[in-house]
Symmetry: C2
Subunit: 254 residues, 2 copies
DNA sequence: TAGTGGTCTAGACCACGCT
DNA sequence: GCGTGGTCTAGACCACTAG
């Protein structure tokens, strides 16, 4: 008995045809994303050749789409065997998404108090982290972050004023830093680089966070980068460890 | 004056031709990886059509290679303009690489003492994290980890015995857990999922780590997954915060 | 407007693995 | 054996952008 073809399983609903007015790859991607999202992990996907024939498109087009989904971790392949749905890692949070989004996604109400917002000359350390010459103007922002009106974190961040001229003239209690960078300056955070450690807070910081100095804090220290490698911001934040946990996922690099 | 073509810059050394006996894509990938590694970020890459003509290969082949490098974060594209080298995020460490590799990469000598290695029935919590039925056999391993003969971490991890039969019969003081899983069971860690928090240690744990109970620890709690979604291990580890920092990077999902 | 990357075609042949 | 994914070709046309 010959090996059976990988046709769709009975319970797998597939559109009969693609709309002619939109990119075929996009439509196929949506179809496959739905399969991967609805089904659990390990679900068999119809073969590349099946999709090519079924939708009257080239197998190269199918492969292109599947390649991306594999790169995104939605599918995985077994050479000589088949393609399956993978389990999707939960969405990554820390530092790429803004504080506001992060807290909202955890189902709470974020709040902000600006402690400090000024322009100063970059010292050696900040200049190095921002990858700018020492003495260049730096916008320094310190904010106390609240969740449901309780203090959660003390955020200190630095941005190059040459890269973001006028960045010091916003109201950072109301405005999202990341959103402003994207909308006003067209800069999209592409990746970050964070060192996570635990420390007991200095007494002033403990007072701001309304904790005892014996209560540990998570320290998130890192830089945020654009795709061209420019450093968008360099910061160091103190989080109350009793109220905050960092969730992180890592994928094996291929 | 017409727009100049994106030919290689003068200082860019390119092999004249590809070897005929190896996949062309692989060779091109190596060439582009070298460019991306040697040059800093933001370096202009010759156009796809240039590579296609120069090496007498199809543009599709070139695109396939560049697609992967973009997915891996080594290059980035600007539609209608050009392709550039990106800054490479530093190598990801936590939990995907083994403790031994992690410590070695930090230039120190790792050590291990097995505190506990036994098989028990899965309680509700462990069963849930391992995604196995409650009561199923679980291999529980507790190890004290040393760096340069100083205690660094207390690792507690759980594995399904049904998934890895015989896993309880190795010497885990000498053997690498991840390496054994890969070599004996053909299971490759694909992604992890870690919650990072800070805590003061219980007094017994503090004693094992040779610290005061007032000294904070990093708590790494998470699961390690194979590409088919199976949970390889579920663990919770205590790291001395004065000696250990977690480095993590995240990339924007496309 | 010319050169870039983005989508897509219609094939070929190879490498691998299940039955 | 035969169906799977992996590599590769030689083109076409579209979308976008620097000069």
């Amino acid at each position: 008995m010959p090996r059976p073809k990988h046709v769709p399983a009975d319970d797998l609903v597939l559109p009969d045809a693609l709309a002619p007015d939109r990119p075929k790859g996009d439509q196929l991607r949506e179809i496959l994303e739905n399969i991967a999202t609805d089904a659990g992990p390990g679900r068999l996907i119809p073969s590349e050749r099946f999709f090519a024939e079924h939708y009257q498109i080239s197998r190269s087009t199918v492969r292109l789409v599947i390649n991306r989904l594999v790169a995104d971790g939605l599918l995985y392949r077994q050479h000589g065997n088949a393609t399956f749905t993978a389990e999707r890692p939960p969405r990554q949070i820390d530092m790429l998404t803004s504080f506001t989004e992060d807290i909202r996604s955890r189902g709470a109400v974020p709040g902000t108090k600006v402690l400090l917002a000024l322009v100063e000359s970059a010292g050696a350390q900040i200049a190095g982290r921002l990858n700018i010459p020492p003495g260049a103007p730096v916008f320094r922002l310190e904010r106390l972050r609240f969740v449901d009106d309780e203090p959660l974190a003390l955020e200190r961040t630095n941005l190059s004023l040459d890269l973001f001229p006028g960045i010091d003239e916003y109201d950072w209690a109301a405005q999202s830093l990341h959103k402003t960078l994207e909308e006003r300056f067209g800069v999209v955070p592409e990746w970050n680089d964070t060192a996570i450690s635990a420390e007991l807070p200095q007494s002033q910081d403990a007072a701001l966070l309304e904790i005892e100095p014996s209560q540990p804090c998570l320290v998130l220290s890192g830089t945020l980068h654009a795709s061209d490698g420019r450093v968008i911001e360099a910061g160091r934040s103190l989080y109350r460890a009793d109220r905050y946990t960092v969730f992180t996922t890592a994928r094996r690099s291929r």
